[in-house]
Amino acid sequence: MSEIRIEHAKKVYSGDNVVIPDLSLTVKDGSLFTLLGPSGCGKTTLLRMIAGFNSIEGGSFYFGDTKINDTDPSKRNIGMVFQNYAIFPHMTVRDNVAFGLKQRKVPKDEIKERTDKYLQLMQISQFADRKPDQLSGGQQQRVALARALVINPDVLLMDEPLSNLDAKLRLEMRQVIRDIQHRVGITTVYVTHDQEEAMAISDRIAVMNHGVIQQVGVPRELYHRPRNEFVATFIGKTNMCNAKLVHIDGVATLVLGEVRLPMSQLNSCTDQDVRVSIRPEEFIKSGEGPFEATVLDSVYLGSTTDYFMKTSFSDRIQVTVESTFEENVRPGETVRLDVNVAKINVLSADGQRNLMEGVA
């Protein structure tokens, strides 16, 4: 077990294609750390640099106090789980799991004992003597996980391990991974593009875009206090609109269309144009709400209903409300909305900075 420390990592492909310019981060010992971002953001590249399959063009990588930049992947003592499982198709499940132990010249009876333990832990003992092609995707992923963990690696690296599974299995395996990671207490780096999966599984998440970390934090922080517009829109759904921040009688006030919302937390900010992020569920339908909105369309989703509305500050906003049996607002009707001011995020006009940073 060890902490992973990355200092000023740099990745350049074929001459001048800089994928990761300068990236630093620390993964705490025993935690599950997720690299989250859209495809092409460099998250898998970074993971493969940690694993040793990608060359490192600059910076230092540490496991604990050991610098591993020049260590061969086979000597880094990592466990890795791949998107396509990478199960050895010509070996039985047991041989797959035992492979790493054999490379380490572990005595025969100990191999059997440790292999059995992990086969049991992953609930795949009954398939031990089968070939992988007779297993389902979920079962194969359990084999991959057992194979990676049985060698007692210092760190566990997982590259989109759930993306090849169907929706239901994905939820199940998500829980399996979370449980086993807790039980073994292994430092884990997990790569995914699925923000919901990241929220559900992670201790901490780094949101990446264009090879740059946009924000690192616990899931709650990322959702409620996104550092910039990219994080706000990438994590969950949100409405981004233009607004003005002015001071009225010394009190910072958000001017959203014709509505003024006092935001005393921002008193220290100067008057400026701002971008406002309001999540769909923070709008409340209320007879006395300050906003007037015209319903354009609605989508019934069971527990909630999504409304698309036109307001004075935006041509189209999304509003999510709890579904009720009687309610049926038709397109063209006008409703009044209130908003949960405490959960509004106010960003600088360029979307690069959250003005509410450090504000509860």
Partner: protein, 554 residues
């Protein structure tokens, strides 16, 4: 960056293979080029001028183009139609016919040529039957017609196998969609199926043309006055009187250049037709009725019968009684007894030399394809390209190059003076077959995700261990079936071995050739039958290993 700077095992392996190619491919060809370009120690184009200015020689090039072109067109026609009929229609005996077609293609072409002479030649069985009993005029099998006939029958199976493979990738919904828009029958064949088969047909055309262009045995036996280019090269090189190896070298260079041009032209054409297909529902053969059924059976069975006829007739003649070199009435095993007593060593050679060649092909082919796919860099790419070179070098030319280069050792030093040894035969066999093996191994490797090897590495496995325990076993089925095909082509090889053999290293194929030239038809027939038995056993083994009834070529 760090990884690149490291001098790892694979760089070393690539370097070794690269040096081997320099030694056994580049050096011989450069030597031949030197012979061709230097007359009396001076740089001169006299050898080339001598060829193009003398119609006696330059005509042979035109002849070669004529027979190869004609044979290619006919083979494409017959092969494509057969492939189409096999894919779209149901009829009896399909599997047996497929096996017969493959067997027909797996024997050395000159064996077919000599068998046709026995059937349709001046004193041939069918000729005698037609002239003496039916009173019809005889057929002229020698010359242009004969060569084209033999080439076509020998090479259409290749086209058939390629086209069958391509049609397997056509989704039946494509045909159904065409039919739903009113496009059926011949119209559908020309507007939908033919364009879909085009990339394959173009690829097969190249292979067929190259084989026909480079074949030496067939025109030698059946050509008579109709001289083709490879025959000229061979004769110029081996002729005892006034044999001019500088001139033969110049001819060799011309042959390579032509093959290269044809290859490049094919690549350009192939690019135009290139697309990918994926079939979820392969075409299901449908039954046919009435007169169409009759025509179908006549055509399909007719073609296969004609293709297999020479082989059958050889087997038959091998059991005829002989006296000296002449067939006499009655049946006996005399030819076999003579074959084993006089050519026993040749039979042994046909087993051991290709086995050594096969070992080289497997080791070099597997590692070369591995570094070319998994460790792409300038060196591996260059080595990979070098490995493809023998694809365009006619066998006769390679034979000449080897003798020229290694007769007195490398650079005349006596080092590697391997002419006349088993080694030179095995190496030349391996070189000629490597392009096919490397290509098919590379295709197999592309199917294996690299993450599987990374998984092994992440579990602490070294590079060599990963290659031997993970990669090779996963490639195994492809390697084994490829090895059997390699083996079959090696045991029937003639154009190179006919130049490189000595009495100690003579193979069955060479023995058949020399016996045919001597007029010893009984022994030749017996040896051909033995060779055919080897081939059929190997083919059955191939089908067992690859779990398939058909052989797809790559």
């Amino acid at each position: 960056m760090q990884a690149k700077r490291r001098f790892d095992m694979w760089t070393a392996v690539t370097l070794v293979i690269f040096v081997l190619y320099l030694l056994f491919l580049v050096y011989p060809i450069v030597t031949v080029l030197g012979r061709a370009l230097f007359v009396d120690g001076k740089l001169s184009l006299d050898n080339f001028a001598g060829f193009f200015n003398n119609p006696y020689y330059s005509q042979t090039l035109a002849n070669s183009f004529a027979v190869s072109g004609m044979a290619t067109i006919l083979a494409l026609l017959v092969g494509s139609i057969m492939g189409y009929l096999f894919a779209l229609f149901e009829f009896r005996g399909k599997t047996a016919l497929q096996i017969l077609i493959v067997i027909a293609s797996m024997s050395p072409p000159f064996v077919g040529a000599y068998s046709w002479i026995l059937l349709l030649g001046r004193n041939g069985a069918i000729t005698n039957f037609m002239t003496s009993i039916l009173g019809l005029p005889g057929v002229e099998i020698y010359g242009f017609g004969g060569i084209v006939l033999v080439f076509t029958l020998e090479l259409f199976p290749l086209v058939f196998m390629y086209v069958s493979g391509a049609l397997k990738n056509v989704d039946s919904s494509v045909l159904e969609a065409a039919a739903s828009m009113g496009c059926t029958g011949a119209k559908r064949f020309f507007q939908i199926l033919l364009p879909l088969m085009m990339p394959t047909v173009v690829g097969a055309a190249l292979l067929v043309f190259m084989r026909a262009f480079a074949d030496f045995g067939t025109p030698m036996l059946i050509g008579e006055g109709y001289r083709t280019f490879p025959v000229t090269i061979y004769q110029e090189f081996v002729s005892e009187l006034g044999g001019n190896d500088g001139f033969a070298a110049a001819l060799s260079i011309i042959a390579i250049v032509i093959a290269l041009l044809v290859f490049l032209a094919q690549q350009i054409v192939a690019n135009k037709f290139s697309f990918t297909m994926n079939s979820l529902h392969p075409i299901e053969p449908t039954p046919v009725h009435s007169w169409k059924k009759v025509l179908l059976y006549i055509f399909v069975y007719g073609v296969v019968c004609i293709a297999i006829l020479p082989q059958c007739y050889l087997v038959y003649t091998s059991f005829l009684n002989t006296s000296g070199m002449i067939f006499v009435p009655g049946y006996s095993l005399k030819s076999y007894t003579q074959a084993f007593t006089r050519m026993g060593s040749a039979i042994l050679n046909t087993l051991r030399i290709p086995l050594i060649g096969l070992a080289i092909v497997l080791i070099v082919g597997t590692t070369l394809s591995y570094v070319a796919i998994r460790h792409r860099n300038a060196l591996t790419r260059l080595t990979d390209t070098l490995g493809m070179l023998p694809y365009i070098i006619p066998g006769t030319v390679l034979g000449i190059a080897f003798i020229t280069a290694f007769n007195t050792g490398v650079g005349g030093t006596g080092f590697l003076a391997i002419t006349g040894t088993v080694a030179i035969m095995a190496i030349s066999f391996a070189l000629r077959r490597l392009p096919y093996t490397v290509r098919s191994s590379e295709a197999t490797l592309r199917q294996i995700p690299p993450t599987i090897e990374e998984a092994a590495e992440s579990l602490g496995s070294s590079k060599l261990n990963t290659f031997l325990k993970i990669t090779v076993p996963m490639m195994a089925s492809g390697i084994v079936s490829g090895a059997i095909l390699t083996w079959i082509t090696m045991i029937s090889e003639l154009s190179t071995s006919v130049l490189l053999y000595t009495t100690r290293t003579r193979t069955v194929t060479v023995a058949i050739y020399t016996e045919v030239i001597r007029g010893n038809y009984g022994i030749a027939a017996a040896l051909s039958t033995i060779l055919m038995v080897f081939t059929v056993i190997s083919l059955l083994l191939f089908m067992r290993v690859s779990h398939s009834k058909d052989i797809t070529m790559s």
